[in-house]
Symmetry: C2
Subunit: 307 residues, 2 copies
Amino acid sequence: MPQRYAYLGPQGTFTEAAMRSFPGADEAEHLPYATVPAALDALRRAEVDLAVVALENSVEGSVPTTLDELATGEPLQIVGEAHLPVSFALLVRPGTDLGDIKTVASHPHAQPQCRRWLAENVPHAEWRAATSNAEAAQHVADGHYDAALAGSFAAARYGLSVLAEDIHDVADAVTRFIALRRPGTPPPPTGTDRTTVVAFIGEDHPGALLEILTEFSMRGINLTLIQSRPTGAGLGSYLFWIELEGHVDDARVGEALMGLRRVCADVRFVGSYPRADQVRPEIRRGTHDQDFTEAAAWLASVRSGHA
Amino acid sequence: MPQRYAYLGPQGTFTEAAMRSFPGADEAEHLPYATVPAALDALRRAEVDLAVVALENSVEGSVPTTLDELATGEPLQIVGEAHLPVSFALLVRPGTDLGDIKTVASHPHAQPQCRRWLAENVPHAEWRAATSNAEAAQHVADGHYDAALAGSFAAARYGLSVLAEDIHDVADAVTRFIALRRPGTPPPPTGTDRTTVVAFIGEDHPGALLEILTEFSMRGINLTLIQSRPTGAGLGSYLFWIELEGHVDDARVGEALMGLRRVCADVRFVGSYPRADQVRPEIRRGTHDQDFTEAAAWLASVRSGHA
């Protein structure tokens, strides 16, 4: 039976494009969902085998809905990630010229990333919100709006023309998408992995964050993302979304996570998975797996008196 | 066959008094040695089963010879300690009065600890050095000097009288003695233990000491002594003599020592043994043995996918 992959729809979104980059996508059935929680709930209910959602955007930051769902909802596990350049196309009905454009529709996320381009090229056009860039394209096809900002891959699907491509205000901006499965054994280490955990601060106290950071820094573990969020359980109750270089099977990562587990009210493991950018961590003196193995053997010999 | 206990002699020294406080001393044969290295070498050569030497004095600090012997000589292991109050008696030949005293002999360590008392009570007496306080007493008995600063317990042995007791310039000053054996299984934890290690810094670098201190502080381990010493292998090569609260069998101590082992050029375990003052460490949230056990079980479940 083919696998079923969920994504934030409708068809033609960047999320669909990201989903198609994950292994097995070609053979899988693709199911669009209207919201991030709907896609994740479908995965939790086992209606699909994998779900793809956006986690962060290098211009606008993390996606709060995704973070909150994964931090405090029924657990799911990140098994992969994809980075897609933030680059839009201006889609119009065939025959439309720049001078004809009075309205431009897009998802609210797209507008700030194309603001300068719009001001320079269609200064008199008004912007209209859509629930997704794909829906904006649909509205253009239907004749409601004159142009849509969307991925160029959406043009064919909606019978539109690409009037301009590679539209973005910030060079090298990317959106990071994650592939999720129900909890299980993490994918094996590749040497270029990332690990995501959520650390819950029970009783807030001075130095709480430093305590957490020290668990990583003293084992030479580089963090790639840290973000505090309220847990929803009242003022003063908060969590840290933490991403780090390395795999939970690495000795240095394992010991740091055990340290976190000891000093935090709770820790949720969200996943260890290959990095899309394949950046290899610099492993500091004394933090290789064999250093931990050697130190454990030494301690055992000291304790038993066979040093 | 009775055990043989070595101590820094001659008979009548504070070290002998400390040695007599260790378990089994009553049944053991007592062998005085002229120097600390001689006593330790006798232990290394298995001529004795236990050796007692001074490690530090709360007025004058650590005893360099003892530190260096244990840090860089053939390994020995501390199995116990004793604290003796630093308090001297003025020993004279029977019939001598304070006014008759023109010379006072003692080990060089004793003189600074009694300087004020001497200035007030025998202001015109000259001080003479002896290789031990007991030897000073012998010189008084022989008629070479008029008085000796020594433990009051030395009086009977040398046929002298105690002219004054409880002589010390600093209240509550103590000398700390240690009992050593050849390396073996440490004495079992008592809940009020101390652990001694030597950390060798290979290539000196900024933050080397902070790295070491962090291994202990983040696991809530209190240090009771830290002292840097040259290793004798050239400028820039140095070691830290480190004493801490807890036993090598404690999970928090074990993990800290493994951390030290990973980040230092070398680590020598010198012993885990009951504290003479029976001070119980305050164990911080998240650093009890069961916290480490629980965290390890959690990590195992995460790695295997059975979380």
